[in-house]
């Protein structure tokens, strides 16, 4: 049986390398994007095999799913922009930059591999104090303990990066004339309404479950937010969300809710502790749930707006249509 799993793991590893190589070397933009998405799914299986279901979920939802959708969207914009139906011509400047980039990435990969092999060889790399802190923590999921408490500062900066990314996109949107990516259709094709009617409750329920279960099992704000973002992507693609030229107040609040509440909590912690981001004794669970929830909302709103490539969205009321 162990031989079989060894073969499976070897296939996964070689498949990953092959997919990564094909994603950067295949001639077509569209083919590259599809290969990148497949790479994300195989990566998710690899994380699951390595016993990291949290990473597997995040990889599948964010890297393969939402990043894939974003890249497909960018691909469509690039092809619409050039008026070329098939493929983009290779720009000489990107070809020239290819070899230095490959060299830097290989060097970085080699350094990381050496470090990781040393860490793996030295199992005591997890300090006993850290192991103790994780096992005695009121929250049961060690990943959530790390993300929200022990390394809460990192998570605060991560969601700030997400907000900054959206602000960067807003600035770009002001400065460039993007082709209208998801033009509203006069009629909705058959089957789309039933799909949405089915997918909406399923996605909402799964997202809330992932958020709630993240306290004691794999899941959490990032995975749940990505699922809600995927719902937003579906609504944008099917014309349920219409683009706006400005960001409505409610969406602005949604964007800053997570980082804002997290930052306020970090400051408030100074009133009951000498450290920012320290949890109040006895209320760790409640505080963590509240922060996770606001993070989930902000991640979902940011991802949806990033995908729509518009400053804002609003819901369109769809009547009954029969094409």
């Amino acid at each position: 049986m162990s031989l079989l799993s060894l073969i499976f793991d070897a296939l996964l590893g070689l498949g990953l390398l092959w997919l990564a190589w094909r994603a950067v070397s295949s001639p077509g933009l569209f083919a590259s994007v599809v290969l990148f998405m497949v790479f994300g799914f195989v990566m998710a299986i690899t994380w699951a095999r390595l016993g990291a279901p949290d990473l597997a979920l995040a990889e599948a939802a964010i890297s393969a799913g939402l990043t894939g959708a974003l890249l497909l969207s960018a691909c469509k914009a690039a092809l619409t922009d050039t008026g070329n139906d098939n493929e983009l011509p290779d720009e000489p400047s990107t070809v020239r930059r290819r070899w230095p980039a490959a060299l830097i990435c290989t060097g970085l990969g080699a350094v990381l591999s050496i470090v990781m092999i040393q860490v793996a060889a030295n199992r005591a790399a997890v300090p006993p104090a850290l192991a103790e802190a994780v096992t005695t923590h009121p929250l049961d999921n060690p990943i959530t303990v790390m993300l929200l408490d022990l390394r809460g500062y990192d998570t605060l900066l991560e969601v700030t990066v997400l907000l900054t990314a959206f602000l960067g996109v807003r600035i770009l949107l002001e400065q460039t004339e993007l082709p209208r990516l998801h033009a509203p259709r006069a009629t909705t094709p058959l089957m789309v309404d039933p799909l949405l009617a089915m997918a909406t409750p399923v996605l909402l329920m799964t997202a809330l479950y992932l958020f709630w279960t993240g306290m004691e099992a794999p899941g959490g704000a990032f995975q749940a937010g990505a699922l809600l973002g995927a719902l937003g992507v579906m609504y944008t693609l099917t014309g349920r969300f219409e683009p706006l030229d400005r960001t409505p107040v409610l969406l602005r609040l949604g964007l800053i809710l997570g980082p804002g509440m997290f930052a306020i909590f970090a400051c408030l912690a100074l009133t009951w502790s000498e450290w920012p981001l320290a949890y109040p004794a006895g209320a760790t669970g409640a505080a963590a749930v509240a922060i996770e929830f606001t993070l989930m909302i902000s991640i979902a709103v940011t991802l949806t707006l990033l995908f729509s490539a518009t400053p804002g969205l609003h819901a369109r009321h769809m009547g009954v249509r029969h094409p």
Partner: protein, 93 residues
Amino acid sequence: MSTWLAIALILIGCSFFLAGTVGLLRFPDTHSRLHALTKADNLGLGFICAGLAVHDGSLTGTIHLLFVWALAMMAATVSAFLIARWADEEPEH
């Protein structure tokens, strides 16, 4: 006994995936490719889920797998329909 049944079911599922992939690569136009892909996909995944359910043996596991199959079928149906529609609108593909 149930292990062998599970292996048989999963192998049948894999053969459907193989047939679907060959069809996707070999068939001449969008509609017949979709036909090969969706039939094989749905049946292949169904057999693999059935095999895994037999192997797992628990009721919750079986219900989980049933949901996986149902969701995949739902998504595959709609995307196949939309691709077929698109192929009708742009006949040169």
